[in-house]
């Protein structure tokens, strides 16, 4: 088996173009997937139907809101385009927009008076990215509410300050002046003491202390949980653990599958398989050599990709850096995944009539395996179940855990057992089929 492995590595070394294509092709695919992912993350087009003729500025609770600026600020995740109601309905039907957000008549008046909650109307298309847009619009409304809440809280606190210290104010356009608890206490102190007056004085004192705490209390009630977002210093998406694991998985899936399928079918093309199987090597040994080839090449090139990632991450000073000490674990995962993919490739190679057909079938097979593995199992559970039957998803989870989990052993054992199981199944099927290649 080792002799055949050495032969295959020698043949591979003499095919630099093939090796370059096998390495470059998955990296190009990974880049394309990144582009698609970026496109998926692009802003969805949402109509803004303004039936209330929103003014440029609105004063609410003493705060001046610049409507256009506010929309620009809060619509970071969706592209809002102003449309008439009819046009919005037409574009919603044709799918030119994914949602329509209507500001009904009386919205600003309701907002200013606070007599009742003003309402925004959201209509979306069905399926596709509509759920994501719905979440984004909900986030938009949440952000608007948060800003308004801040204004209302400040106005409430201003009223509390007035109650406490006295002064002038304005409610629903009516101006007023109050003396506040401070003024009340001053007046009470000027009056002759007595039991009834002392009770009033005590009440005023308690009320002042209580109201003095109101500011913090109102703010904390409005924000029971505060989310703080420190300035971004983490990894960019392109250097994230997930992308690194996917890039490695994608690269070795292409490499191992095509290599094993092509190498086994090539034994037939070279007419050598009969010579080998007449006693020089067992069918299991022959398949084992192809598994070993896939595993060794996957480990070497996978580590090269991981090292390249690490150098970029370190050079850019990304927080957390590359987990260099985890590379041995990654190497183990690459070997296991390479063997499992090699077993699958050997099955293809044992069924194909020639190396070119085997390579073509391997490419056709690898695409759905990879794309199934990219579908989140929480979103489409059947995709996860099917994906579990192939090594790609297990390899990605192994790499991710090996590189970045603080306690990786549970995941590593689980995924390693899956990969070993898939290797045994693939090896068995290919071993039973390989005699078919002799004719």
């Amino acid at each position: 088996m080792l002799l055949l492995l050495r032969k295959d590595l020698l043949v591979l070394k003499r095919s630099p173009l093939l090796l370059a294509v096998l390495l470059a092709y998955p990296l190009v695919i990974a880049a394309l997937i990144s582009l698609v992912a970026t496109y998926v993350g692009a802003k969805a087009r949402v109509a803004l139907v303004d039936q209330d003729n929103l003014p440029k500025t609105i004063v609410i609770a003493g705060h001046r809101f610049h409507v256009d600026r506010t929309i620009d600020e809060v619509s970071r995740n969706v592209k809002l385009v102003r449309l008439t109601a009819d046009e919005a309905e037409r574009q919603l039907r044709s799918g030119q927009i994914v949602a329509s957000l209507t500001v009904p008549r009386g919205f600003v008046a309701d907002l200013k008076t606070g007599v009742r909650s003003p309402t925004l109307l959201l209509e979306t298309t069905v399926g596709g990215i509509a759920p994501r847009v719905r979440q984004q619009v909900q986030a938009l409304v949440y952000e608007l509410n948060r800003r308004l809440q801040v204004a209302f809280i400040e106005q409430d606190i201003m009223f509390v300050e007035l109650l406490l210290h006295g002064g002038s104010g304005k409610v629903l356009g009516t101006k007023f002046h109050i003396i506040g608890l401070d003024g009340t206490e001053r007046i009470l102190n000027q009056l002759p003491r007595g039991p009834k007056l002392d009770k009033i004085r005590d009440f005023v004192g308690d009320a002042r202390k209580a109201l003095a705490l109101t500011d913090t209390a109102i703010r904390s009630t409005a924000h029971p949980i505060d989310l703080e977002e420190p300035p971004l210093r983490g990894r960019t998406w392109a250097l994230s653990a997930q992308v690194q694991a996917y890039a490695l998985g994608l690269t070795i899936t292409f490499l191992a599958l095509l290599l094993a399928a092509g190498a086994l079918a090539a034994e037939r093309d070279e007419n050598v398989i009969g010579r080998l199987l007449r006693g020089l090597i067992t069918p299991g040994g022959l398949i084992g050599a192809k598994l070993a080839l896939a595993a060794v090449v996957s480990a070497v090139l996978g580590l090269a990709v991981a090292i390249a990632f690490g150098i970029i991450i370190d050079a850019r000073g990304v927080v957390g850096g590359e987990p260099w000490v985890r590379l041995p674990l990654l190497a183990l995962g690459l070997l296991l995944a390479g063997a499992a993919l090699g077993a699958l490739g050997s099955v293809i190679g044992s069924l194909a009539r020639e190396a070119r057909a085997a390579s073509l079938v391997a490419v056709l097979v690898v695409m759905p395996i990879v794309f199934l593995g990219l579908v989140p199992r929480e979103v489409v559970p059947p995709a996860g179940w099917i994906s579990d039957l192939f090594p790609f998803a297990h390899a990605v989870r192994f790499f991710n855990s090996a590189l970045y989990d603080s306690s990786p052993w549970g995941t590593l054992w689980y995924e390693a057992l899956w990969l070993i199981g898939l290797t045994v199944v693939g090896w068995t099927i290919a071993r039973l089929n390989v005699r078919r290649l002799v004719s």
Binding site: L3, K7, L10, V11, R14, S15, E270, N271, V272, G274, R275, L276, L277, R278, G279, L280, I281, R435, V438, S439
Partner: protein
């Protein structure tokens, strides 16, 4: 000749899909003899040789081999790695055949067959590829040679050397089964002829009795 045969095939047959390549066939190969398999294209000669070599399992029947018998097989189409040189091919197969001294065996065969070693075997001429194919079959000091159209593509000098080699093997108590379309191969080397027609044995007997 001795009474203990090297190879005994009993009722071996083979089909590929629905196509029958070889009907149940018997063949015995004894030490010191040279058997020629003749017949038209598609008669089943290559299939029978592959079955005798152990490369192809028969669908029916059995092949018995003498204990410890080493068999060399040369398939009709060259069977070696095109991206490896002749030396690398011989070295690989010498080690797979458990040659006691693979380096020496490689040097010996390279010299005997005058094979170029400076280029991948895919770039060799048709004749040189056939020589390499034959050289690989000779690795491991086989006592029985199974040769499929061995003289096709060989020049007269190499053909004469092959006949000498086959004769020497027979004289030393070895045996050869060769599939051939070449009358000269029959006359120069063979003791016995087995004619196959459409997967059946149509004739078996001495060369002198076989009317070409």
């Amino acid at each position: 000749m001795t009474d203990l045969p090297f190879l005994v095939a009993r009722g071996v047959s083979r089909r590929f899909g629905v196509q029958v390549a070889l009907e149940p066939t018997d063949l015995t190969v004894v030490p010191g003899e040279v058997v020629a398999l003749v017949g038209p294209n598609g008669a089943g000669k290559s299939t029978l040789l592959a079955i005798l070599a152990g490369a192809l399992p028969p669908h029916t029947g059995t092949v018995e081999r003498a204990d410890g018998l080493k068999v060399g097989w040369m398939p009709q189409r060259p069977a070696h790695y095109g991206r490896l040189t002749a030396r690398e091919n011989l070295d690989l197969f010498a080690r797979l055949e458990d040659e006691p001294d693979p380096d020496a065996a490689v040097e010996r065969l390279l010299g005997q067959f005058e094979l170029p070693t400076d280029r991948p075997s895919a770039n060799l001429s048709v004749g040189n590829r056939q020589r390499l194919n034959l050289a690989i079959a000779l690795l491991g000091e086989p006592r029985v040679l199974l040769l499929d159209e061995p003289t096709a593509s060989l020049d007269p000098q190499q053909r004469a050397r092959l006949w000498e080699r086959i004769a020497a093997l027979a004289e030393s108590g070895g045996a050869t089964v060769l599939a051939t379309q070449n009358v000269e191969d029959l006359e120069r080397t063979s003791d016995r002829v087995v004619e196959l027609v459409e997967g059946h044995v149509a004739f078996t007997g001495a060369v002198a009795e076989y009317a070409v």
